[in-house]
Amino acid sequence: MRRTIWAATGLLFVACSGGGDQQSGQAAGAPAQAAATSGAVDLTGAGATFPAPIYKKWFLDYAGTTGVKINYQPIGSGGGIRQLTEGTVDFGASDAPMSDAEMAAAKGKVLHFPTVIGAVAVTYNLPGEQQSLKFTPDVLADIFLGKITKWNDARITALNPDAKLPDTDILVVHRSDGSGTTFIFTDYLSSVSDAWKNGPGKGKDVQWPVGLGGKGNEGVTGQVKQTPGAIGYVELAYANENHLPVAELKNQSGNWVKPSLEGATACAAGVAQNLAADTDFRVSIVNAPGADVYPISSFTWLLVYQNMDSADKAKKLVDFITWALHDGETEVASLDYAPLPPNMVDLEMKQLQQVTYPGKM
């Protein structure tokens, strides 16, 4: 009897100590949940967390106007691509375009539909410094490469002659988890710095030369806010909501720009006018040309199979994307996302016609 009681206590202890695994349990539980509820919904999708708030709003509004229910699980871009490849969801979503290898592994040709534009802001913590700091692309890259280590480095003071820059170490803070935000930021650094391109490179996670890792936008923000002398990067929406100081960057045209939704849209417009009519939209828009362009901007994509087995689902998905690109775009700014420029919407509508399903003429 005593033994039984102690064995039961042992089980309890095991149950308690399992608490640390909540995170992974959540990630694993998400697809199961999606499957469990799929009976009640018309379409299921999974993927990127960055656009999840606007997608949630879209799906809610769309269900309200048309009655079509769409279930979306923000499990991360990598998970979205995996689930689309395995065919467990009707559409995926990703902050980075699928690589050629990922395209080859999928069950058919995957079309990329840019939905909204996100911008990444550079934020910092310099006590007493009120005005916005200015960085050129090469200075920013060298800070994150660990080549510039002091705030009063001659190259920073030259750009910010009026700022009171202390003789303290620069602490770089980056994301510790794989993320689309990191992809956009490293994509930008790779495009402006050969040393970065040939060193850490671009990806959802890279081998950072210096610095600390914070988990999520909130982890990076917390770290930067608390540590005098820290510099990091977060989603623009996150920087705005938390009133973080953001740096001005020099764009290709030589103008100093603060991160803004207009700057992000301008960035996409600059790229869109040069896109071929038959583009697959797997393009990077960082560092685009244009006077008002904020250079650290990127699309986030919906991923859809070109040939869909279910005519019913395909029609609903096409209708939804049409709605999202027109009616949906008008409400993205309320959630701090930048809307697509009009010329992008036209290009995407052409690609949408490529979606085929049984019975389509």
Partner: protein
């Protein structure tokens, strides 16, 4: 594990060779109910080891591509480069071991102090509420510990503790406390873990100390021992293997802790001797990267980290069990 602890503490089960009466099997003709009961509990009992083996098999299978690609170098390389698909788990392995042992070094004396106070010195009206509050530490979700770590612990460590250790005590002259103090560090992870495992060690130690037979204490006191001598000469040796069991339980928890550690350790893929420098642990590496890992080798490398964590936990637990077994045998109880 707790079962073992208890057995060691009472000091009877391991020494008395008599088997406990095995009701379900020994009694013949006990009716269908007994037979069903014995089958059901046997299945339950076997299900747990079977589950363990299954998990091990699945993790090993998924980890195989990475283990095959990187071989033994996986354990010694500090590279973690998803862009070029090159992976090594050395910093995470090092960080897991160092942060856990640091936690043990901090938590064990504290927890023992709490347990001894509660079982030997505390007046009865104080014993229950204090024991309850200490046990309550185990009920706090780890993410809450992490938040507390970011907003309370790290600023204190950065502003007071780290400068004190490094400059006032001149420990900065040793490699273990040198370098800049940013806050998120191996030390912060060790302290957070120490607080998290303290209730486990203290709860088990308290129970085993209270289980020391009254006759044992009375015999010591009758020989003229002071209270202190009675405690160290009679009670603690008797409870030694049980206390060690509690420490193992705490260590197991520390090795696998994920969320709180991720939030305070700094997540840097680098082996640094200094406890003030940031590090990484295997559990936080998996938690950080699993959702966005896209390439097959990246996923496999994360599973390989899980495999290494699994093996390390097994080795540490087996080693600690052996230690308990040896000390209890040497003590002759």
């Amino acid at each position: 594990m707790v079962d073992e602890v208890r057995a060691g503490a009472s000091g009877e089960a391991e020494n008395t060779p008599t088997e406990p009466p095995r009701a379900g099997i020994a009694i013949h003709g006990g009716g269908a109910g007994d037979r069903i009961y014995s089958v059901v509990i046997t299945v339950f009992a076997l299900a747990v080891p079977a589950l363990l083996l299954l998990i091990f098999a699945v993790v090993t299978n998924a980890a195989w591509p990475a283990l095959k690609t990187f071989g033994f170098g996986f354990l010694t390389s500090s590279d973690w480069d998803p862009v070029n698909d090159v992976y090594g788990a050395a910093p995470a392995l090092y960080g897991t071991l160092v942060s856990s042992f640091l936690a043990l070094i901090i938590a064990t004396p504290l927890a023992l102090g709490v347990a001894i106070f509660l079982s030997e010195f505390a007046p009865p009206w104080l014993r229950r509420p204090v024991a309850f509050l200490v046990d309550l530490l185990a009920a706090i979700p780890s993410v809450v510990y992490g938040l507390w770590g970011i907003f309370v612990l790290i600023p204190i460590l950065r502003s007071y503790v780290m400068p004190f250790l490094r400059d006032t005590l001149h420990l900065g002259a040793t490699p273990f406390f040198s370098g800049p103090a940013y806050g998120p560090s191996m030390l912060a992870a060790g302290v957070i873990l120490a607080i998290m495992i303290l209730p486990y060690i203290s709860a088990v130690s308290r129970e085993v100390l209270m289980a020391v037979p009254r006759s044992q204490r009375e015999a010591a006191l009758a020989l003229g021992a002071t209270r202190w001598e009675m405690l160290w000469g009679a009670a603690i040796p008797f409870a030694r293997s049980g206390i060690a069991g509690g420490v193992i339980l705490g260590l197991g928890r520390a090795l696998g802790e994920t969320m709180a550690v991720t939030m305070v350790i700094g997540n840097r893929q680098e082996i640094a001797a200094s406890l003030l420098a940031p590090g990484y642990t295997m559990a936080s590496l998996i938690a950080n990267q699993f959702t966005e890992a896209t390439s097959d080798l990246n996923l496999s490398a994360l599973m390989a980290v899980g495999f290494v964590l699994f093996v390390v936990t097994l080795i540490v637990n087996a080693g600690a069990r052996w230690l308990v077994w040896r000390t209890s045998r040497e003590a002759g109880i």
